[in-house]
């Protein structure tokens, strides 16, 4: 359409203002992206992914209460369960308690662990074998190993707090994971922890893989009924549900983030509307001239909304570019956040909806009054 050139020309007419607007909109949209990516991280795995095949059994009262090791055998016997492993949060202190040294460390059964995450976690075959064969062995995610500067063969020493022992794990492998969140984990052998604690037969949680997501409710019910009225009653949930519960413990984080998001949305609206109002106001005479030479009100409205939309889309592109560079490429994350803040099509879609919606609204308001402008009145006005 020829009119696009007109739109671009109008937008560039006051370069400084357009520049300031685009930068401020882009920054606000960048915040929207950031907030959305934080929420995405909290929501855990996507509901259509392989996480649907995994269930987690934990103590009904709280994650801090352990389960007996005897449940391992029992859960193995449950129909539809393909593989099950103890999965205990070790906690403890690595070097010191600063945030850079906080990462997840779990004890698992190595062989079954690989069955559970088949297709999601990739590790060279020889490293996998070395991990399985070394009782003190451990594997770390690629991004964690890079952050800590670990190499294969390094000994990682972690002083326990939940468990009154210090583990000295020898790094046997480095894995990559499809879900980047998982690359922040260090895994070591369940048997090693048992050995150190004097074979107490204690397990944090059980993670299992089932044959089909449709059976998840049935499997969960079988396990929870089995342990009913025992000293350690279980609560079995899908991985997604488990993560959702975990986040809800932090309080109304989503509510807070949404409220902030709303504020940012209003800021964007104000910035965009202000600019468009200024832009149209100074062009009153011009609009009158255009009308006099035959531009229809519809076309005038279209031009103004188009200009607003162009500014909005350019800001959006800038915002997504910033987010992609900072989060996806540089892997920046806020302290205390255990999940990467990567942009996904979903987070971009949210920002795009806001950008387009607000551009339309802020273009429509001055656009309609410009479209309604009387020719004589407009020509008489001195801007």
């Amino acid at each position: 359409m020829k009119l696009w050139r007109f739109v671009i020309k109008s937008a560039l007419r006051n370069k400084r203002r357009t520049f300031l607007t685009i930068v401020s909109l882009a920054i606000s949209l960048f915040i929207v992206n950031t907030l959305a990516s934080v929420i995405r991280g909290f929501d855990g795995s996507d509901p259509t992914g392989p996480a649907r095949f995994r269930l987690i059994s934990r103590h009904k009262v709280s994650l801090t209460n352990p389960l007996p090791e005897s449940y391992w055998e029992k859960i193995k016997q449950v129909p539809h369960v393909e593989a099950v492993t103890p999965w205990s949060w070790f906690g403890g202190v690595y070097k010191d308690s600063s945030w850079e040294n906080q990462f997840a460390r779990f004890s698992v059964d190595p062989e079954i662990y690989f069955k559970l995450v088949e297709g999601e976690v990739t590790i060279p075959e020889d490293q996998k074998k070395a991990f399985i064969e070394d009782r003190r062995g451990g594997i770390a995610g690629k991004s964690l190993a890079a952050k800590q500067g670990w190499k294969i063969g390094d000994t990682i020493s972690i002083k326990g707090d939940i468990y009154p022992v210090t583990i000295d794990v020898v790094l046997r492998g480095i894995f990559t994971a499809k879900k980047v969140d998982d690359e922040n984990n260090l895994l070591f052998q369940h048997m090693y922890l048992e050995e150190l604690t004097g074979r107490k037969g204690i397990v944090g949680t059980y993670w299992m893989r089932i044959d089909s997501p449709e059976n998840s409710a049935a499997v969960a019910k079988t396990i929870d009924t089995m342990t009913e009225n025992s000293d350690a009653e279980t609560l079995t949930e899908t991985e997604n549900q488990f993560l959702a519960d975990f986040v809800s413990m932090m309080g109304n984080v989503k509510g807070l983030i949404s409220a902030i998001g709303l504020c940012v949305g209003v800021v964007i609206l104000m910035l965009a509307a202000n600019t468009m109002a200024m832009a149209v106001r100074e062009r009153t005479t011009e609009v009158a001239v255009m009308k006099a030479i035959g531009f229809t009100p519809g076309k005038i409205l279209g031009l103004i909304v188009g200009e607003s939309l162009a500014i909005g889309l350019l800001s959006l592109a800038l915002a997504c570019g910033m987010g992609f560079l900072l989060y996806n490429v540089m892997d920046f994350r806020l302290p205390g956040l255990w999940t990467p803040m990567v942009l996904t099509p979903m987070t971009v879609l949210i920002a795009a909806t806001i950008a387009i919606g607000i551009s339309l609204v802020s273009g429509l308001i001055p656009g309609i009054s410009a479209a309604r402008l009387g020719v004589v009145e407009g020509l008489r006005k001195v801007a």
Partner: protein, 389 residues
């Protein structure tokens, strides 16, 4: 000579819509910033006031929280005999062995639960934790299946209200009293008799933590060195205040997130303010020319526009902090305490310092946004400015 302040104010009023929208932008940025800070301040405040300067906490060496600590009865007996502890009228030392348990209880009106700390205490506990005051009902009777709950827990959780019954491990415990603890972390707990709770939870012979109240501030080091010197004990003894100040790390994260948001948003809002000020300058170029022609210096023009920008910013700051104050101050909320894996309740706190910081923050954004437009105005040539329509 300076241009009267009134002129600047009038200037802001001429472009009402633009001024208002800039103020709203700045106000919202300040509101986001101050809400995060009020959240962090509230959480930090709870932890800060929670520790008692006279109390020493004794836990298993290596444990970082009461939840993963454990002491035997023998160790407890040794601790009661160490020098340095305050004593009551009967000569009994102010030492209390406590068991800290976590239960998952549904919130009122929800079928989802959250974790609460259930603390089994000895009768000495009320001397060691003087902040606990029973305000409704009565305290529990030792040897009975009775509990007292903090008022905020009673309000938030099912089965925790006065007269209600809480089923713990198939045993019925009656809530016979409600207490307040001055906004400390104890305000997020339920208390009961240590022996009854250890019995119910099969924790006989174990304590989580032993609290020793020092006779005077100098006795704290006596207690600490006494524990260190005793070969039979492999325990760590820390000040209760230190235990809680470690936990304030959590609010550090909220502050970091708040700062991150605020700084980025400030850049956005600053550009918005600059836009408004540019518009103000360019629409008034004739006025500027006139002022210069009748003898006002470039500097006073710069000053005038900077003042205008500063006022714009400060107004945004004031509106923003007022939004936060009226919407958030004192609002009760809760989060998980990662140390104990249980709920800690606290209130948003808009402090006077926060208000000053917020207004200053917005003023700086406004001033920075106004810097370039004001320079532009000051540089204007008289003849050119006057000729412009």
């Amino acid at each position: 000579m300076a241009i009267p302040f009134k002129v600047n104010l009038r200037g802001l009023l001429v472009r009402k819509v633009s001024t208002i929208s800039t103020i709203v932008c700045l106000a919202l940025v300040v509101a986001v910033f101050s809400t995060m800070m009020a959240l962090a301040a509230g959480l930090a405040h709870t932890f800060k006031i929670s520790g008692d300067a006279l109390n020493v906490m004794v836990m298993r060496d290596g444990s970082t929280s009461e939840i993963n600590s454990g002491l035997t009865t023998e160790q407890y007996e040794i601790l009661t005999s160490l020098p340095g502890a305050a004593r009551d009228a009967a000569g009994k030392p102010n030492v209390t062995g406590e068991v800290v348990l976590v239960i998952n209880q549904n919130k009122r009106g929800h079928d989802k639960g959250a974790n609460i700390i259930l603390r089994g205490v000895t009768p000495q506990a009320f001397a060691v934790h003087p902040e606990i005051k029973v305000v409704e009902g009565r305290t529990f009777t030792p040897g009975q299946s009775e509990l007292i709950a903090s008022r905020s827990i009673a309000k938030k959780f099912q089965g925790c209200g006065l007269g209600e019954v809480l089923t713990l491990k198939k045993r019925q415990f009656k809530v016979v009293g409600l207490f307040e603890a001055g906004g400390t972390s104890k305000d997020s707990e339920i208390l009961g008799d240590v022996d009854e709770l250890r019995d119910a939870f099969d924790r006989k012979g174990y304590f989580s933590t032993v609290f020793i109240r020092a006779a005077d501030p100098s006795a704290i080091s006596v207690i600490q060195s006494g524990i260190k010197a005793d070969q039979r004990l492999n325990l760590k003894a820390i000040r209760e205040t230190d235990y809680f100040s470690e936990q304030t790390q959590q609010s550090g994260i909220i502050i970091a997130a708040g700062m991150f948001l605020a700084i980025i948003l400030a850049v956005g809002a600053g550009f918005g303010a600059a836009n408004t000020m540019y518009a103000a300058v360019s629409s008034r170029s004739k006025e500027i020319g006139t002022l210069r022609a009748i003898g006002f210096s470039r500097f006073s023009i710069l000053l005038a526009y900077m003042t205008e920008a500063l006022v714009l910013g400060a107004m945004g700051g004031v509106v923003g902090i007022l939004i936060t104050y009226f919407a958030m101050n004192g609002v009760n909320t809760g989060t998980i305490n990662w140390q104990s894996f249980s709920e800690v309740s606290f209130a948003f706190r808009v402090t006077p310092i926060l208000a000053v910081i917020a207004i200053a923050f917005a003023s700086v954004i406004g001033a920075l946004g106004g810097l370039l437009p004001a320079t532009l105005a000051a540089r204007a040539r008289i003849t050119q400015a006057l000729r412009q329509i």
